[in-house]
């Protein structure tokens, strides 16, 4: 089974990278870009077919290590 994890900076936390990329896009003429948020994308190959268990385990991984919930939000998808 494959887990795809997305970690993004919380809405109310400043994302200096996102702001820099947005202003660069504006400079290039992409004025319609109202906001950019930069995050992380992770692919986890899991040695299990038990979806419910995978759900629970990946959530624990996110809470413990993959995201810092003081500053980041996470979501994930399971496939296969």
């Amino acid at each position: 089974m494959k887990a795809t994890v997305y970690v993004t900076i919380k809405e109310n936390v400043l994302d200096p990278q996102g702001n820099a990329v947005q202003s660069s896009l504006h400079t290039m003429g992409f004025g319609e870009v109202a906001k950019v948020r930069i995050g992380k994308y992770m692919e986890l190959q899991l040695d299990t077919n038990d979806r419910a268990q995978a759900e629970e385990r990946v959530k624990a991984m996110c809470e413990k290590l993959l995201a810092n919930t003081v500053i980041e939000d996470y979501r994930f998808e399971l496939e296969g």
Partner: protein
Amino acid sequence: MNFAVLVFPGSNCDIDMYKAVEDVLQQPVDYVWHTSTDLSAYDAILVPGGFSYGDYLRCGAIARFAPVMSEVRKAAEQGKFVLGVCNGFQILTEAGLLPGALIRNKSLKFRCHPVDLTVENANTAFTNAYAQGETVRIPIAHGEGNFYCDDETLAKLKANNQIVFRYAGENPNGSVDNIAGICNERGNVVGMMPHPERAVSKLLGSEDGARMFKSVLNAFASKAQTGAGSGAGAR
């Protein structure tokens, strides 16, 4: 008084920290590798700066799960003195020993220069040799020193007098409320972005950091006087 300087793969301020203890205090100090599972011999644990585990995932995120960290937690609970500087501060926040988190500098630049700090709390184990409100000059060197916490946590930090240092001049990283360093509620665990170990001699440009080391020796001496185990003596 026995000092431990933790060493993770990628620590790079460990030697400076070790030398600062040696030169300023002439007290016994050891390097302790991240795999160690016993810190019982030490009275103070110093978590140095650097780029532990290459800053992979997030600064300090992987180091906080090193075997030695459960010993650091134990030491903190016992009221022993714990100081995290720069990457050490990031590790202590990731470990939950201090609140908040350190995020990318607002400017996106790695800032490496001396800064002026205001001593906001001169009652912690690491700041008792300073005067309250004093300005001290200590260098910074970080790309991710932007202290963030939510409003509720900030209110708590203020109410409990847990803000130890603020940037006195320009805020180099965009931190909340100009925070440069904080402590836990008990005052025995301190984390800060500036590097006091790089400011222990006039030859280094400033000796203002030396008193942090003298402070912890004072705290240890007064704890010994009032009887070991009283713990909260640091406040």
